[in-house]
């Protein structure tokens, strides 16, 4: 425990030093962060498997509460996830940070950001928790503003910090409710007192809003696709891959740990929001043409999937099906790990593309597989993993979620009966759309012919960045091949939160994944992989041995209509056009207008597409408008004459006196 705290403190120091020294600062900061996060990762793992939770109270913060820290298995698990991804990001940063033009604005805050993330999960009282939570928001806001010259970055920063503060304040209300009038701010005290169902229900909804706003739950996600892409890529990776997970942690902590058994209706709400988030997130991602924004929207989708898992766990826990809850929660946490790994990988890739070409717009890229072969390979793995393709890790969590959906216990609630299958459909839809979305991302960016000079002249990125990407790719493959290891590692968390855990997977024959029973369903990624290797090898060998091996390069055939101009290739927008027509036409009121010049006119034909952001228009724009309107309405009060001001004071006095007269 002390070691972990020291590690976090050391991160703060590293940041401080990074701000002071100028020479060699990037290397120092990133190497320092890399080493420290690895140590913290080890600390997290040791806490995950420790027999008893470690706890520590320091006389900081509010004195009569103190600063409580506790490392139970769940905290340990999330600590490990955070620092694993953070180590990757730091490794990536060693290379990436060198050609970052606003380096100095990042160096101080980057280690602080890591420290704040770590602090959130080890906090064991409401004050320390919110302190770390808001610190995390504040520091990441500073990181988002690193490229502050662009107006849209400043706008993103604004929306981001507003939403983050909103989430912090809502969580503050949650804790205020849980702490009660006596002010039981320590989590241990909250655990000890079980609130009444009504209070627990309100607290749960507040927690959902508070953490959802930070995780990017629809409709509270609007800041996410603005803020995540605005930050430097390794920070985007952390924000998407890790910070959203911290919000998941907070929700789990409040729901399962502090509140005890969640009610069934709350599970319905979570399932509805999770399903909506997954579906809308990926649709938005499909329509997006900006590499990093696409990834950010995909984060929204993945958060939805995780919330579906959590919702299922809540539903099962409410119906008393503990093993089902364990299955669903394992699926959710598995997805947490997965997403932390492959989303960081994908953002690294996007960063590599950005630093190699200076472009984020997919429609100006293309053909990068030739120029950045290793980056392309790692991105391919990442794209396949996030599309839930076996034998990579993304598939496992999705498979587990489906297994949970398929349990079909006797559920008490009509809402659940309707929502669970509907979420199944949404999950399936989201998975399929993800595939399409990442075909688009990889295909348009890395395949085909370069669409701009920048893409034509790109060079492979430095070796640290490549190492970080390849390591993440290897990890996602490993997790896909040996998912049982992670399931077993999750067992202490399950026991802590639910009292039961899934059967030990490493004892299963052939290292298969058998969560409930072999008859219900099993999956063996390792064997699938081996089969693939063997059969691919076999077939290549056979074909090359017994059939032709000659090969000739020639211009592309293209059905006899080859066009040398790369502009004629499919772009991201054209690739997504069928899907846009199918899904977005009604959902986002996406609209296309085609202008064909009359015959004889040499003007170019134009196609224009618009899709207003409905959620923004429905929820955010009215608030902004209302505030602006009220502000304008009240603004004349700044310019009254002195006489009028006196009249106001007079009116206040008379009102009070009249009130007094009536009251007496």
């Amino acid at each position: 425990m002390i070691a972990v705290l020291l590690g976090i403190f050391a991160l703060l120091v590293v940041g401080g030093i990074g701000g002071v020294i100028s020479e060699k600062a990037p290397v120092f900061v990133y190497v320092g962060s890399f080493v420290l996060t690895l140590l913290l990762f080890a600390g997290g793992l040791s806490a995950l498997f420790a027999a008893t939770p470690m706890a520590l109270a320091l006389p900081l913060g509010i004195p009569w509460i103190g600063a409580h820290f506790r490392l139970d298995p769940m905290a340990g698990f999330f600590l490990a996830v955070i620092n694993l991804a953070a180590a990757g990001a730091s490794l990536y940063g060693i290379g990436y940070g060198r050609h970052e033009r606003e380096g100095a604005r990042i160096l101080v805050f980057y280690p602080w950001f890591l420290a704040a993330l770590d602090l959130v999960v080890i906090a064991d009282d409401a004050f320390t928790f919110l302190f770390a939570w808001e610190l995390m928001s504040l520091v990441s806001w500073a990181l988002v503003l690193a490229h502050h010259h662009a107006p849209e970055v400043r706008r993103a920063g604004f929306v981001y910090l507003m939403m983050a503060s909103f989430s912090g304040l809502v969580l503050l209300l949650t804790f205020g409710l849980l702490a009660g009038a006596e002010g039981h701010y320590a989590f241990a005290l909250m655990r000890a007192t079980r609130p009444t169902p009504a209070i627990a229900g309100v607290a749960l909804m507040l927690a959902l809003i508070g953490t959802g706003a930070k995780a990017g739950l629809v409709p509270l996600h609007a800041w996410l696709p603005l803020a995540h892409p605005a930050a430097p890529s390794h920070v985007s990776a952390l924000m998407s891959g890790v910070m959203t997970k911290v919000a998941i942690y907070a929700f789990l902590r409040i729901t399962f740990d502090l509140l005890g058994a969640p009610p069934a209706w709350a599970a319905v709400v979570v399932l509805v929001l999770g399903g909506l988030t997954a579906g809308l997130g990926i649709l938005q991602a499909l329509l997006e043409g900006d590499l990093k924004r696409l990834l950010a929207y995909s984060t929204v989708e993945n958060i939805g999937i995780i919330f579906i898992g959590i919702g299922l766990a809540m539903a099962f826990a409410a119906s008393g099906v503990a093993i089902g809850a364990a299955l669903a929660l394992s699926a959710a946490l598995f997805h947490v790990v997965n997403h932390a790994i492959y989303k960081t990988l994908l953002f690294f890739g996007a960063g590599a593309v950005l630093s190699a070409t200076g472009e984020r717009e997919m429609d100006r890229l293309g053909g990068l597989i030739h120029r950045l072969p290793q980056t392309a390979f790692a991105m391919l793995i990442g794209a396949a993993a996030i599309s839930a393709l076996p034998p990579l890790s993304g598939f496992v969590s999705e498979w587990l979620t489906f297994q949970a959906i398929l349990l079909r216990p006797a559920l008490p609630q009509w809402g659940l009966k309707l929502m669970i299958p509907a979420d199944g459909a949404l999950l399936a839809l989201a998975a399929a759309l993800t595939g399409g979305c990442f075909v688009k991302l990889f295909g348009i960016t890395f395949l085909g012919r370069p669409r701009s000079n920048a893409a034509r002249q790109a060079c492979e990125v430095d070796r640290f960045s490549r190492a970080a990407m390849l390591a993440a790719a290897a990890l996602t493959l490993l997790l896909g091949l040996f998912p049982g290891m992670l399931i077993d590692a999750l067992a202490p968390v399950m026991r802590e939160l639910l009292g039961v855990s899934l059967a030990k997977q490493s004892a299963m024959p052939w290292l298969s994944l058998i969560p409930i029973s072999p008859a219900r369903g099993s999956y063996n990624g390792l064997l699938i992989f081996l089969f693939m290797l063997v059969s691919t090898g076999l077939i290549i060998f056979a074909v090359h041995r017994f059939a032709s091996r000659s090969l000739r390069r020639a211009p592309a055939w293209d059905c006899g209509f080859p066009d040398s101009n790369p502009i004629t290739q499919y772009t991201g927008a054209s690739f997504a056009q069928p899907l846009r027509r199918v899904f977005a036409a009604s959902l986002f009121s996406a609209h296309e207008t085609v202008t064909l010049p009359p015959p004889g006119d040499t003007a170019p034909a134009r196609i224009e597409k618009t899709y207003p952001d409905r959620i923004w228009n429905m929820f955010y724009a009215p608030i902004g408008f209302a505030v602006g309107w009220i502000a304008t309405l009240f603004n004349p009060l700044q310019f009254l004459t002195i006489r009028r001001y006196l009249a106001v004071v007079f009116a206040a006095l008379v009102t009070l006196l009249i009130g007094l007269a009536i009251w007496q």
Partner: protein, 477 residues
């Protein structure tokens, strides 16, 4: 007694001396020295507390206020010493005015300290009037159209407020007379609070209404706030810092004293709900008004109204937690807001304007200043690791357990204010550099000192201080 002489006598003496010294360099230094002496005298009050009398009282409550106000007075005098010479160079002030300025600064310090230590509610009133008059003079010191208008507005509204407060004070005496008899004791606060249970509640109620409106004007509560933004915006920046950091507190202190009195009388109205309503109104109104501000100092002046709203709200909620949080918020607001005004002063001097639209990208052109401003705004909006977060945490969480809807109102107000400040901050501190990029000439030290204190308070509150505050919180009821 020596300590008291330091707190009261030194400013009075210094005021006379400063009025006589023609050299502004010397007087600036003398100003700082006098403030330092007052501050050290105030610190010594912790250890040796003079015995009170019918006129003077030093108890747990006002020691905090005295130390705070002499400290901010001291740092402000340091800031002002390096700041004001630049004003001389640009020709906004003449040496004569500077002489007047320094004398008035000490008069104001004297007035405020006198208000804080006075046991007699009449003396309290006189002292606050003195402080008001001296600040009116300083607000108008630039003698531009806007400055004069602001000063006149401040003067008229402040005078009406102070007159109403006097009427309230007389009513208090009338309520107390049957119980205490006439004489000096009848206005001594220590005697009043001891016998308050026997006072006529109806008279006390009327008195409190007048005191609330009267001193509330000086606190800057909506709807009596009108003088505040202009006075902050048009006066010299050190004065803005002092107004926000000190004068509002002194008026608040007076209000708190009378609140204690009222709570001690069982039949009187509960002052809490009134304060809650006014506090919430100030918070929400200031939050909205922040959006259309174009002058950077007026912006932060409205933020002061917002914070006074929060503080009054917290004291209105009362209870050990509410009072503690209110005290903490008040101390930290003083420190933070004066630090922000220091920063804004630097900015305005460098850029030669207070128009937000003409200022931009400070974090790039002046990294240290820009980031200090960012830190200040983050601190004032209640983000960790700064102290205001702690007090706002306590206010909201303790309120929510008792009156959920009120807490929601506070949250809305905080978000409103955050939004407005953030919008302005992102164009002032970030983005393309706008305006001149000359070097900062005034001293950063006071600003850093304040921010460091606020940061430390966010992470660690010393146990003795907390025990002290808790004790006061219980006293406040």
């Amino acid at each position: 007694m020596i300590a008291l002489a330091g707190v009261l006598g030194v400013p009075a003496l210094a005021a006379v001396l400063l009025a006589a010294i023609p050299s502004y360099r010397l007087s600036a230094r003398l100003n700082g020295v006098a403030s330092l002496i007052a501050f050290s005298a105030a610190l010594s009050l912790f250890w040796s507390r003079p015995r009170g009398g019918p006129l003077i009282v030093v108890d747990d409550l006002n020691v905090v206020f005295i130390v705070l106000s002499t400290f901010v007075g001291f740092t402000t005098s340091l800031f002002s010493a390096s700041y004001i010479s630049h004003e001389l160079q640009t020709g906004r002030l003449t040496p004569t005015y500077l002489r007047f300025y320094h004398a008035m600064f000490q008069v104001m310090m004297f007035g405020m300290n006198l208000a804080l230590v006075s046991n007699n509610i009449g003396l309290l009133w006189v002292a606050i009037e003195l402080a008001t008059l001296s600040t009116v003079m300083m607000v108008g010191i630039y003698r531009t159209h806007e400055a004069l208008e602001a000063a006149w507005k401040y003067f008229i509204l402040g005078s009406v407020g102070i007159a109403l407060a006097l009427f309230g004070t007389i009513l208090i005496y009338l309520a107390a007379r049957p119980e205490l008899g006439g004489g000096v004791d009848g206005m001594a606060w220590t005697a009043l609070v001891g016998h308050a249970h026997g006072f006529d509640p109806a008279l006390l109620n009327i008195a409190f209404v007048f005191l609330l409106i009267g001193y509330g004007t000086k606190v800057g509560l909506v709807p009596m706030h009108a003088w505040l933004p202009d006075a902050h915006a048009e006066g010299p920046t050190p004065i803005s810092a002092v107004l926000s950091g000190l004068l509002l507190n002194v008026a608040l202190y007076a209000l708190l004293r009378f609140k204690m009195l009222l709570s001690a009388c069982p039949g009187a109205i509960a002052p809490g709900p009134l304060m809650i309503v006014l506090g919430l109104m100030s918070l929400l109104f200031a939050g909205i008004m922040l959006y259309r501000r174009r002058d950077i100092k007026r912006l932060f002046a409205y933020s002061s109204i917002e914070h006074m709203g929060i503080i009054v709200f917290a004291f209105g909620m009362a209870g050990p937690l509410g009072n503690f949080a209110g005290l903490l918020q008040m101390v930290l607001h003083s420190l933070t807001k004066s630090a922000i005004f220091f920063a804004v002063g630097h900015v305005a001097q460098v850029k030669g304007t207070q128009r937000i639209a003409d200022i931009g990208g400070i974090s790039e052109s002046h990294p240290l200043l820009g980031w200090s401003l960012v830190v200040g705004v983050a601190a004032i909006t209640g983000l960790p690791p700064f102290g205001v977060f702690t007090s706002e945490f306590l206010i909201i969480s303790s309120t929510f357990a008792r009156a959920p809807l009120l807490a929601v109102g506070v949250v809305c107000g905080l978000l409103l204010a955050l939004g407005a400040l953030l919008l302005r901050l992102s164009s002032v501190a970030f983005g393309a550099v706008r305006g001149p990029v000359g070097p900062v000439e005034a001293s950063y030290v006071p600003m850093f000192a304040h921010l460091a204190l606020v940061l430390i308070a966010g992470v660690y509150l010393p146990a003795p201080m907390v025990a002290w505050f808790q004790h006061i919180a219980v006293l406040l009821g």
